[in-house]
């Protein structure tokens, strides 16, 4: 049952691969033709050589003119054959690297539409491993497949014809026995497929570990955890070593095995040939010629069987990429989804239920009404669901029940891109992309002028430190922001939003890493930015919260109090408790 399933899976993978080669039909065809040309010439040259040798009979009996003519021919066909072979190589390169490029392209495109729940819950290292190492291994296998499969098949056909012209009976013996080697190859191939798959999976696991640990090397060092990590790494490494050894060794037995089968064929031909020769069915010369052809005939079978195992590896890797490509994307925008332009910012959250894991209820029956231009502050103890609300507003996650409406339209009926570009978002977790500071600032508004950019940077008080950097706005920052401080990174994120000024704002702990003086200074810019814009602010600093039009006090996924600062203080509830806690004497 399991094997059957695996078999159909392999077939499906193969089908998908073939589907990807469709775009390169012409090259496939061309490659095939060129392979035929190469093989024909390659088989023809030995005949020419034989003819030339026939002119060399003995002392004083050599036809130099004849030889010269044939040698010219040999050189001509040799050059043609070499050119054809080179062109064929080019075609094969084109096909394989093209296919891999297309597959990577597809995989990346899928990455961009996967729901966040997938990305949040899957190891990044494993996804990276699929897109990089697996895709590469697949390319190598496919290239080998194309180069050897075609020439192999054509060589077999060619020699078969030559053999038939000599003796049909022996040819029949050869034809019947040779497929045994293919059977042997496929026997091994079947067994190696899941070994290769295991190898790929272990490799994915290892990449995931490397990704996590090397990505956070600084923490690792702070805890002096290098040795423990190495130990854990070694465990996975050993696992990989074992699975690789198995996969590589068992697959490498194919070639010797098929060669052994071929030596049986050779012996078979020898016996039958010798017996027929004894009864004067063929001449000794014919037999020796036959044997050499039989040898040539079986060689491509060796190669093909080698390719078959190599392809197992390639297919196992391909299967992992396709699995990723076939992952369910986020629900696409509805066909009649509307564009949200110049949103007024009236937001209604109605009877919303949501949870990340079905068994663990988080938000239940959430209702909220925010009018255009209002400033909403969300407070509450950590883990109460503040960030979740942002996930829902931005539609990073879809609600399980109920609806969220912006300007009276359910956000499920609004295109994601227009919804998201209506929000300016600054998160506590600063993220900058690899590139110059300028590129990072212009992310939200690529066509901003230099003037606008500098103004936004000045308003967010990032200008002064940017100016002090080596190359100013053109300073290149590496993946994680390099040696910029956390606060500086946050200032850049704020400048990024200040530049594009969308109609609604989400500020999740936007100033958590910025010192209060700088914060105070950019406060006025913030205030100006929030004017007339519906804003959601998650903050611990009451200074930011106090001036809000509405404060939502959340606990355990529910809004437990709601109102203005003064009102809530008077209520003397949870908010008052939170507020007073800062006067508590330590």
């Amino acid at each position: 049952m399991k094997q059957n399933k695996e078999k159909t899976m392999r077939k499906d993978t193969l089908k998908t691969v073939l589907h990807y080669t469709k775009r390169y039909r012409i090259y496939v065809l061309l490659s095939f033709v060129l392979a035929a040309v190469t093989v024909a010439f390659t088989l023809y040259i030995p005949i020419l050589i034989g003819d030339a040798i026939d002119f060399i009979i003995g002392k004083g009996n050599v036809d130099f003119d004849g030889i010269a003519a044939i040698l010219k021919k040999i050189l001509l066909f040799m050059v043609l054959s070499a050119i054809a072979q080179w062109l064929m190589n080019l075609c094969n390169n084109k096909i394989t690297y093209g296919v891999v490029r297309d597959i990577r392209h597809k995989a990346f495109a899928k990455l961009e539409v996967l729901p966040l729940s997938y990305i949040d819950s899957h190891s990044h290292g494993d996804i990276v491993s699929r897109m990089i190492t697996d895709a590469d291994t697949f390319a190598d296998g496919l290239l080998m497949g194309f180069t050897q499969l075609f020439t192999g098949v054509i060589t077999i056909l060619g020699t078969l014809i030559f053999m038939l012209t000599i003796n049909a009976k022996i040819t029949f013996v050869v034809v019947v026995i040779t497929p045994v080697s293919l059977l042997a190859a496929s026997f091994i191939a079947k067994r190696t497929y899941h070994m290769f798959k295991l190898q790929s999976e272990t490799r994915g696991k290892q990449t995931a570990f490397i990704d996590e640990m090397i990505g956070n090397q600084k923490v690792v060092k702070a805890f002096g955890h290098e040795d423990e990590n190495l130990k854990e790494f070694d465990e996975i490494n050993e696992e990989l070593r074992k699975s690789s050894l198995k996969a590589i060794f068992f697959s490498s037995t194919t070639n010797p095995t098929t060669r052994f089968v071929n030596s049986l064929v050779y012996t078979g031909v020898g016996i039958t040939g010798a017996l027929i020769a004894m009864s004067n069915g063929i001449t000794v010369g014919q037999l020796s010629c036959f044997l050499s052809y039989a040898n040539q005939y079986t060689k491509p079978f060796n190669e093909i069987s080698g390719v078959i195992t190599e392809l197992q590896n390639a297919l196992a890797c391909a299967a992992r990429i396709f699995e990723f490509i076939d992952e369910k994307p986020q629900v696409p925008d509805k066909e009649n989804a509307v564009e949200l332009n110049n949103a007024e910012g009236n937001i209604r959250i109605e009877r919303v239920d949501f949870s990340y894991v079905r068994e663990k209820k988080l938000i239940q029956n959430l209702n909220l009404k925010v009018n255009s231009g209002e400033r909403v502050a969300i407070v509450g103890p950590t883990g109460c669901g503040k960030t979740t609300i942002i996930n829902l507003l931005m539609r990073f996650y879809d609600v399980d029940k109920g609806s969220i409406k912006v300007d009276h339209t359910d956000i499920k009926k609004i295109t994601r891109s227009s919804l998201r570009s209506s929000y300016g978002m600054v998160l506590q977790e600063t993220w900058l992309k690899e590139g110059t500071i300028r590129e990072n600032l212009l992310m939200g508004k690529p066509d901003a002028t230099e003037q606008e950019m500098i103004e936004a940077a000045k308003a967010s008080h990032a200008h002064s430190f940017i100016k002090r950097l080596k190359d100013g706005y053109d300073t290149y920052i590496t993946e994680d922001g390099g040696s910029l401080s956390q606060g500086q990174k946050q200032l850049l994120c704020i400048a990024r939003v200040m530049l594009c000024l969308p109609p609604m704002l989400i500020l999740d702990e936007a100033t958590s890493s910025i010192d209060t003086r700088t914060e105070l200074k950019i406060q006025s810019a913030f205030a100006k930015m929030m004017e007339g814009r519906t804003s959601f602010i998650v903050a611990h600093r009451l200074s930011t919260i106090k001036e809000a039009d509405m404060i939502l006090v959340m606990k355990d996924g529910n809004i437990i109090e709601q109102g203005k600062h003064d009102e809530l203080l008077k209520e003397n509830g949870f908010y008052a408790e939170l507020y007073n806690s800062q006067f508590e004497k330590v």
Binding site: L116, P256, R259, I271, M278, L287, G383, L427, V586
Partner: protein, 577 residues
């Protein structure tokens, strides 16, 4: 590649046996034509069926022996190659573990990942193939050449010309393609970087609707990778046709030379045939070699990239000899310390001096980018001072054994990173053999007990990669607990309570004061977090403005006053007055 060879040391036996068995197999293969010749010459001409069958049995025996030899060879080759790469990965991982912050800042994570995975793979393939064909191919080529010389020295001179030419051409193609394969791997790095960025920055990218731009960037890099690959392919694709041409020219030359020699009566027609056959045999072997050479070329390029990582010396190396100095007055001392980061124009810190007695609590406050984190990062020696010296327990950090130094210190960073595994696993980062009791105590101090207890599996609750299934504040508290489990003598909180609400923050401060013997550094932007510190250092633009207690600073330090009143007047509405 040379420096990587040492990883094969443990597999010396395999490295010798594998090529040897391959050689044996090749030798047995050579017997086959001889046996067949015997069948034809003796068996058929004498019509001796018994003889034919006997010889055929020998053929099968030869086949079986060949099979056994070859499978043995493959096994040893695979074992050596796989073992080699496992050791290589181990050392690579270990080496990266020793690199210090400034090297990690410059190298970047993505390229380290490709080098550890993809590049090591390429080298593994190279080793595997080399072991299998190392002896066999030259053996066949040389053997054929020697046989040719035994037939006729003059005609065989063609071999003496063809084989060196062949070598030269192969080497030229190799030399041309090695640097290009390096470019291929570098492009692969870029593809990986884009992929990783889109995973880590998915929220921002989607919030800014940058999916299309990212796709464009990815496609551009993907296309560049493909193009350079095809370009290299064009060159290495010449290997086969060119060698094919050279050999066939050799054959033509042989026939021509053979014709003259035969005409002069020095050799026979049969001998010409033999010469040509030997040349063809070389062709077959060279084609096999060409495949090997491409793999080796790739392996060489990858090996170079791996060596680059090994060649990156950690700039911070701990001393192995520890100066023991029992008596010390200060837990931490900074003497005229300056720090300049690589690739940056200005000093991040200049001329910093202060002393901290054991058990004191130090607050560090100042504007964004003023160097607060830089100061605390120098205590566990993540960065080295460009000028001046940092002392911990009276000993210059450069004279400490780095492990022991860092063992003293519990560090909580701004960005709280947790690892995949249970809460227990994460806490044990601080102390491998921590008991539940110790862990719960640390959780209590870090104000994390409550939410951990609320989890279904308590300490065994799973944390996802990066702690994504926890809120920011929960992550921070766990990170604090992780540092406390360590029972450090110096605890550094680098603005690590920023995601905590006020109530929790206040409780945290209170409970931290229980740690009496611990020297605590608190980096913060809130004066409320540090007002009870024994000393507060006010920083501005990499320089110390003033140090003192909260009250002293409030009286004398304008900057501090400004910071403080900016917070209280806003937060407390004159509550202080």
């Amino acid at each position: 590649m040379k420096s990587l060879m040492k990883y094969l040391d443990d597999y010396k036996k395999e490295c010798i046996l594998s090529p040897l068995f391959k050689l044996l197999e090749a030798t047995f293969e050579l017997f086959v034509p001889l046996v067949m010749a015997a069948i034809i010459d003796i068996g058929i001409s004498q019509k001796d069926k018994q003889y034919v069958f006997r010889m055929c049995t020998i053929l099968i025996v030869l086949g079986v022996v060949g099979l056994v030899c070859s499978i043995t060879a493959q096994y040893f080759a695979a074992k050596a190659a796989v073992g080699f790469s496992a050791k290589l990965r181990h050392s690579l991982f270990e080496h990266i573990g020793h690199l210090s912050y400034s090297e990690l800042d410059t190298l970047g994570t993505s390229t380290l990942i490709t080098r550890m995975t993809n590049d090591v793979n390429q080298v593994q393939n190279g080793v595997n193939l080399v072991l299998r064909l190392l002896l066999r191919s030259p053996f066949v080529v040389l053997g054929a050449m020697i046989m040719a010389f035994t037939i006729d020295v003059k005609a065989a001179l063609v071999f003496a010309v063809v084989i060196p030419v062949l070598c030269i051409v192969v080497f030229i193609i190799m030399f041309m393609s090695v640097p290009m394969y390096e470019v291929v791997q570098n492009k692969l790095d870029q593809v990986l970087t884009t992929t990783r960025q889109n995973l880590t920055g998915v929220r921002v990218i989607r919030a800014f609707n940058k999916e299309k731009d990212e796709k464009k960037t990815f496609d551009r890099r993907n296309r560049q990778l493909t193009n350079i690959r095809m370009y290299v392919g064009r060159i290495s694709g010449m290997m086969n046709p060119v060698t094919y041409c050279i050999i066939n020219i050799g054959i033509a030359a042989l026939i021509y030379a053979g014709a003259f020699r035969t005409d002069a009566g020095d050799i026979t027609q049969g001998e010409v045939v033999a010469l040509v056959n030997y040349m063809s045999q070389i062709l077959v072997e060279v084609i096999k070699l060409a495949n090997l050479i491409i793999t080796v070329t790739k392996a060489l390029a990858s090996a170079k990239r791996i060596e680059e990582v090994f060649d990156t010396e950690p700039s911070i190396v701990g001393k192995s000899v520890i100066k023991t100095k029992r008596q010390f007055e200060y837990a931490v001392e900074f003497n005229r310390v300056s720090l300049k980061y690589k690739n940056s124009g200005e000093e991040a810190l200049s001329n910093i001096s202060f002393q901290v007695k054991p058990g004191q609590t130090i607050g560090i406050i100042g504007g964004t980018g003023c160097g607060k984190s830089s100061i605390v990062n120098m205590i566990p020696r993540f960065y080295d001072a460009t000028k001046g010296e940092v002392r911990v327990n009276g000993i210059n950090v450069k004279h400490w054994q780095t492990d022991q130094l860092r063992d003293l210190i519990g560090m909580v960073m701004q960005k709280s990173v947790l690892f995949r595994g249970t809460i227990r696993d994460n806490l044990r980062w601080g102390k491998a053999d921590a008991t539940d009791e110790e862990m719960y105590r640390a959780l209590e101090i870090a104000q994390a007990r409550e939410f951990v207890d609320a989890k279904e599996h308590k300490l065994d609750e799973m944390i996802e990669q990066g702690g994504k299934n926890l809120s920011g504040g929960q992550r921070q508290r766990l990170a604090i607990a992780r540092a406390i489990v360590k029972q450090p003598s110096i605890l550094i909180l680098d603005d690590s309570a920023s995601a905590l609400d006020f109530a929790t923050d206040a409780k945290l401060r209170k409970s931290l004061s229980q740690l009496e013997d611990t020297t605590i550094f608190i980096v913060s932007q809130r004066t409320s977090s540090i007002r009870h510190a024994d000393h507060i250092i006010v920083l501005d633009d990499g320089k110390i403005v003033m140090t003192g207690t909260h009250e002293e600073l409030l009286e004398n330090c304008d900057e501090y006053k400004e910071i403080h009143y900016s917070q209280v007047s806003k937060d407390e509405e004159g509550g202080v007055a």
